[in-house]
């Protein structure tokens, strides 16, 4: 039970391009895996480790995220003491630009960081898909005596130009690479544990020196004085920096080993609770190699697809290699492939729509074809 750890989750990473999927929602509330939002994973990691103080740093387009997390009760974070705290930009001057980095986001929170009562802080991005045992990471942080423990992966390979790397040097220090051309060393998952004192001092330093980036302005220039000891996470991890990444990596959830790694009985992934019925497969349906959420009515053919909740697929329709989000309707005899249909999209009967694996087509929320 990590009662002495305070989690701060950054919910809107702006350097990535998920096209229409993030036009009206923050990165952390991008739908994933048939029934989740990306934020569910980090919130569940916190909940499963007994972290009961969790702050969400909000920035722009956060209505969708607020609708999703509500009071935090679905993650057991609606508490009298602690629980979920929502932090919209607070001491940002009117007309000021968006924060340029994590440190600037924290500076914008005014005294929040300095008033944290717990001795340790977790800084994490809200867009990481991974089921991480944070108690283990914390134990490693204490044992190593590190100033900063970044969680890194050896198995996940994101786009180097959108990734930070930690490279062990011969003298025992860590080199830090920010968005290099090629991958090197350990890939950062943008989750860090440090003491509250370290963070508080660092925020003050950044504020007085007009610095804004944790990696570029703190870890990189001060790598010889800060003890950085990465924690190597060996489980499944994914982050999405482009539409084709999102499409390709989302489909990995069909693999038995991925589903087993992400959704354990001991550390379940919680999400907003909605009472949906079971999914109904009609006598005319034919479904293979697909992940399907509750509440759907399937009368057509579905292959290699991810179907979110309450999707309707009509008779004679053929859905191949698609991601259909909540409340999508595919009319009778429609044929679609390589489509990412955002919430509430409607394909009228006899629609034919095909894109390609490298360039899947996004149908914007509530669009009708």
């Amino acid at each position: 039970m990590l009662t002495n750890l305070h989690a701060i989750i950054f919910t809107n990473q702006k350097s990535y391009n998920l096209g229409e999927l993030t036009d009206f929602r923050s990165m952390s509330s991008v739908p994933y895996g048939g029934r989740y939002r990306l934020i569910d994973f980090m919130l569940s990691n916190c909940a499963n480790a007994g972290v009961s103080n969790v702050a969400l740093v909000l920035q722009e387009n956060y209505q969708s995220l607020l609708d999703h997390v509500e009071s935090g009760k679905d993650w057991d974070l609606a508490r009298k003491k602690g629980g979920l705290r929502l932090l919209p930009p607070f001491s940002q001057k009117a007309g000021a630009r968006d924060p340029r980095g994590r440190m600037e986001s924290l500076i914008n929170l005014g005294n929040y960081v300095h008033e944290i009562k717990q001795d340790y802080v977790l800084l994490a991005d809200g867009d990481l898909v991974a089921n991480i045992d944070l108690e283990k990471v914390f134990a490693a942080h204490i044992e190593s005596g590190a100033d900063v423990t970044p969680i890194v992966s050896t198995s996940y390979h994101g786009q180097p130009l959108a990734t930070n790397y930690f490279v062990p040097m011969e003298d025992g220090t860590m080199d830090v690479l920010h968005n290099p051309d090629d991958a090197q060393g350990y890939e950062a998952l943008n989750v860090y544990i440090m003491s509250k004192q370290f963070l508080s001092d660092t925020v003050k330093y950044c504020k007085s020196h007009n610095l804004y980036s944790l990696v570029n302005h703190v870890l990189l220039p001060r790598r010889n004085e800060i003890k950085i000891v990465p924690y190597i996470f060996e489980g499944y991890a994914a982050r999405f920096t482009s539409v084709s990444d999102y499409f390709k990596d989302s489909m990995e959830i069909m693999k038995k080993e991925v589903i087993a790694d992400l959704f354990t009985i001991e550390r379940p992934v919680f999400s907003k609770d909605r009472t949906d019925a079971s999914t109904y497969y009609a006598p005319t349906s034919s479904v293979k190699n697909s992940v399907v959420a509750d509440g759907c009515i399937i009368e057509g053919t579905v292959e290699n697809s991810i179907i979110f909740r309450n999707v309707k697929i009509g008779k004679g329709a053929v859905v191949k290699n698609c991601i259909l989000m909540k409340d999508t309707e595919v009319g009778e005899n429609s044929i679609i492939s390589f489509i990412i249909a955002d919430k509430g999209s409607t394909m009228t009967p006899n629609t034919s729509l095909a894109a390609s694996k490298l360039y899947p087509l996004i149908l914007a929320k509530n669009s009708t074809i």
Partner: protein, 402 residues
Amino acid sequence: MKKESVAMLLAGGQGSRLYALTQNVAKPAVPFGGKYRIIDFPLSNCVNSGVDTVGVLTQYQPLELNVYLGNGEPWDLDRANGGLHSLAPYTLAGEQGSWYKGTANAIYQNIGFIDQYDPEYVFVLSGDNISKMDYREMLKVHKANNAAATISVLTVTMDEAKRFGIMNVRDDDSIYEFEEKPAQPKSNLASMGVYCFTWSKLRKYLIEDEADPTSSNDFGKNIIPNMLNAGETMMVYRFDGYWKDVGTINSLWDANMDILDPNGDLSVFDKEWPLWARNPIRPPHTIREHAKVQHSFISSGCDIDGDVFNSIISDSVTIGAGATVKCSVLMPGVTVAPGAVVEYAILAEEVTIGAGAHIGSEQVYDDPNKKVAVIGKGISIAPGAVVEAGAMIYPEKKGGDK
């Protein structure tokens, strides 16, 4: 704070005819329809009817039921005023008090609970019926006739009437006689175990009934006849929607098959009458390469690689490649190994069917006397074993012939 109406849900029944399914759990907590427990139906009816104060009377094996009900949040019944309350029998000073002696005694013991809300009306509901019912419609009839009691009835055939409590009514639908399982029915209006009472009246009859040492303290045997004999105004409310008492294996199987029809009266996709339930925290299900799924429900956390026809598959079920599940109800956590066949069967939670085993056999779908095989919670059937049609397997009675 005052409430117009309070619902009392009778959930203490053992469900003895469902033996293998109710050995360790009260009947209202038996899983149903893929995502639900039986009690979700009356609870959803209460909420959808605007009744936000519900006492659940528990007695037999209440642990799992109480865990399931929790604070009532899944039904939106975690209220500051009213909400869901689980009411177990209790004792008074001087070792007074007892188990609930009968349905009427269960309400009698909780007069204090009901009085807190000073209600005009009390609904007394059976916790083990599958039905979608708007209690407001019954209340309208009750109010319009200024009745002391209104009893929901279903029109059945004269032959079926012999198995029910039958209401004999005058032309204006007022009741003049109640007969339990009459050999020669005079009417075909069968009681559904759903009552609406004017609380001030019911309260008086409960107290009088408790004082009568010869009484069975039962609504059907005592309270209703006593009220009739005293000349109270008692009405029937004619209900024409779906209703089923799932007291037997075959009726439980039938009701499960009925809920599969997305256009039927019991449809789970009816936006006007949502069914609420406590959901397990599981990911979406996966349908794999060899699977063929038709006219079936599949729920979250399942991994399906076999054939599934006409079946209800609850959450966290695994069906291996080459296995066939047909006309069956699989409760949460069941595993059917590759090559096994399950037909006309109800498999309780966490049952494991070994590779190549054969459970049940082909039956005539509409035959009321069909033989449905039942396997109790947690039982493992060995690979290659055969469980015959209509068999009931539970821990003290291991089965499956090699």
